[in-house]
Amino acid sequence: LAKQPGNLTDLTGAGAQEWDEKIQSMHQDAIADAQTKHFVVQNASMTQTPATVDWDGVPVRAQTCLKSRSKAMRLSDWTTGIGDRGRAVCHEEYMEWRTVHDASGKITRVEITTEVQEYWIAMARHSPTKLLSLVARFAGEQSAPFQQVYGNVNPNGAGVTPAAREQGFRSMMLPPPNTRNPPRSPYNNGQKAICFLYQNVNALEAAVVLAAFAGFPHAAAVGNTGQLRPLTGAEAIASTNQNALDCRNSDPTIVGAIIGQAFNGRQVALDDPAGIYITNVDAARLLRPDNQTEAPEEWFNLQRGSASADGKQRFQRLVFEVPADLPFVVGDLVDSQTSETIDFGWQVAQLIKVGLYVRIGGNVPGSIPTPVALQPVANCAEQPGCSLFRQAFNIMEPPPPPPLAESESERPTRRASRIPEASIE
């Protein structure tokens, strides 16, 4: 059976079996659609320690499109009465977070997840009691009412099928279809908790499909030397058939890494257990309010994973907070690289690298690098998708009304008069 993300064991019996089938079918469908020979299901010949393909978890497109890190930080933390709207718009790098504030508005905790929605859906179908317990734990509550997780489906009701549980779970814990809104449930829209990656673009299947379509030995000519080099991720997205979006941190990184191995004629596979993992936390970057003492690693509580036999950790959740017995909170800490206090979840999220573990296998018979006619790569700051970030930002912080035209502003104030100034239209 396929291992469960993070080497977890939340699924047993039929649930574990279904997870295995899900992983198999996800791969088979992606490989068949892409018709790749280089991206494969992990096999017994892949014995070496997996390589890490990782990237910054902060949504770089928001920063690029808004042309401002400070605006991107504000938008990424945007919350309204319906939940974490900034997350729904911005968090697209296989990492989502929520921030918790105290009464004064200071951040007291940042919770980060890379858990994939497919796994939670499988749990919702087969392990509802365990799932509800987990949800309650994430929210710091004794229990979570099933209505806020499963809607009008009682998951433990007599005769309730896995399909019905999934339907109810989706209606609450995933965004309403065809919207960029957060889920209805406060347990996954940031109001009470954050459980897993709710954005569809952050699904495990999206990563598998992305990797499969990258599994080709795409090459570009090196000047007039007669030599070839592997396409970069950005070039491949612009010039070949990819299921990826350029200008993110994640997509071009994954695409480029897979193409690099295919260029060498190698097979590549996602390491089992397939998942999105926290690969690095730059804990030492944060300083206590004295601006000298580093925040200890213990304040970064990594969860939902354990190491595989290769020694690499597979954590999928991080809760960052200052111990309650200390006289300061997260919002009082200082980023040593910028001298900023921590005012946004982004500033903690930027310490995190997330990624995939990939196995590099044997040679694909007959594989030779294939030259591709290069198309211009995207201009990231002007890509069409930028409009979404700009629209969202303008809703969050409406721009001030345009200044009066010079002729109007210079017009002297008129005296009160009996003469009507203008007609009503």
Binding site: D54, K67, R69, S70, T253, G256, A257, G260, Q261, T338
Partner: protein
């Protein structure tokens, strides 16, 4: 693509940097007004502009004798000058009378930490306090020229001008470096093998599309790391171990692409097929020589060349690529007690200094866990004598960054 980058960054097609390098560190005197600082830098920059044309002020007096030749010029040595500004310039503790009033400090322009463990980087740490040469400064001016005279003369002329005109500037120190024609470093391996195209370099260097620091648009950041190499520690390692740490064959520079383990457990690094068998970098070099694909073997993935460039097939502009444009110069000097200090003045230009930090701090695949290369714990070869990040505004009149002092 426009190009308003200051001279002194040799990224353009066909450009080759001169052999001699200096980095002059300056502070603005206490209680100087922004207007006073601006006027002082303006005078320095104007003098350097004349010097680049071979005009030395003392040889071209304002009141010449009737029979004096004019102008008197000296060989300029193709001198280039580049000015950058450090975090100290923006600091209220360094300048209680603020020098910069209307412009925010770029967020990642901060002074290197000197206190705490594992500073300033996770595994590239400061040298012993008695050997350190580090000081934060307001201003750096980089000089590059073909001759020692040209770069030294630039420093002397700055010093003369400050003294003669009582400018509110103070020379803190300067660092020297030289180019090597063997394209190797003090540890004998080839250095600077992996290069980008001029277009890629500009993408990596030039800051664009950032409204948080509009005064820097079209400019860049300079990263300076004066890294001392511990030759004794390095030479204590057998050649095979050195090669695994670097990721290349010591003599030819060929990348190692696989590892063979013999019956007795000895590991042998295998060079790429068709690798040239000379000690010089071939021209043009084979593509796999310049930019070897990430190897399957984790021992090779842990080598310096792969740790410094993990996401090899990411486009250079992508944040995950962490690419920087390097333009380093070696150094050699003798300490007061007779010990040699030698190493590399690592100088790089990038639109985001965080990239340098990321390369050096990131774990587990990047250089964060190790001092130079290999699997931790590996030999410590490098320590830092001095360093810093500096904002390098685009070309401008009367001098780059003049608007900072408005």
């Amino acid at each position: 693509m426009s190009d308003n980058l200051q001279e002194g960054i040799y990224f353009r097609h066909g450009e080759r940097p001169g052999n001699c390098w200096r980095l002059l560190m300056l502070n603005v005197a206490d209680n100087t007004t922004p207007k006073g600082a601006r006027a002082a830098i303006d005078k320095v920059w104007a003098m350097l502009t004349r010097l680049r044309q071979g005009i030395v002020d003392d040889l071209n007096p304002a009141q010449p004798r009737p029979d004096d030749p004019s102008p008197v010029t000296v060989p300029s040595g193709n001198l280039t000058c580049l000015i950058g500004y450090g975090a100290r310039l923006f600091s209220s503790s360094a300048h209680p009378l603020p020098l910069i009033r209307n412009v925010p400090r770029p967020r990642f322009l901060t002074a290197f930490r000197t206190v705490g463990t594992n500073t300033p980087f996770r595994s590239l740490n400061w040298a012993q306090p008695e050997d350190r040469q580090h000081q934060d400064t307001d201003i750096v001016i980089q000089f590059i020229a073909d001759t020692e005279l040209a770069v030294n003369r630039a420093i002397v002329e700055v010093s003369k001008l400050i003294a003669e005109q009582g400018l509110p500037l103070r020379i803190v120190t300067f660092f020297a470096g030289f180019n090597r024609d063997d394209r190797r470093s003090w540890i004998d391996f080839h250095d600077g093998v992996n290069t980008m195209t001029p277009d890629q370099r500009q993408v990596v260097i030039e800051l664009l599309n950032d409204t948080d620091a509009p005064w820097l648009l079209g400019g860049t950041f300079l990263a300076f790391l004066r890294c001392e190499a511990d030759l004794s520690a390095w030479r204590g390692l057998p050649r095979e171990q050195q090669e695994f740490m670097v990721g290349r064959d010591k003599l030819t520079g060929c990348p190692l692409v696989s590892v063979t383990t013999l019956a007795d457990g000895t590991q042998i690094g295998e060079k790429m097929a068709g690798c040239p068998m000379t000690g010089t970098i071939p021209s043009p070099p084979p593509q796999g020589y310049i930019d070897p694909v990430t190897p399957a073997d984790p021992l090779l993935r842990a080598s310096h060349i792969h740790r410094a460039n993990v996401n090899r097939t990411a486009d250079p502009r992508e944040p995950s690529a962490n690419r920087v444009y390097r333009q380093g110069y070696e150094f050699l000097e003798c300490r007061a007690d007779g010990r040699l200090a030698l190493g590399l003045n690592f100088v790089s230009f990038q639109f985001d200094p965080k990239r340098v930090t990321d390369i050096l701090n990131r774990a587990p695949e990047w250089l964060g866990p190790v001092n130079f290369g290999g699997n931790p714990p590996s030999a410590r070869v490098l320590s830092l004598l001095a360093g810093g990040y500096y904002a390098v505004p685009p070309k401008g009149e009367p001098f780059p960054g003049a608007g900072l002092f408005d």
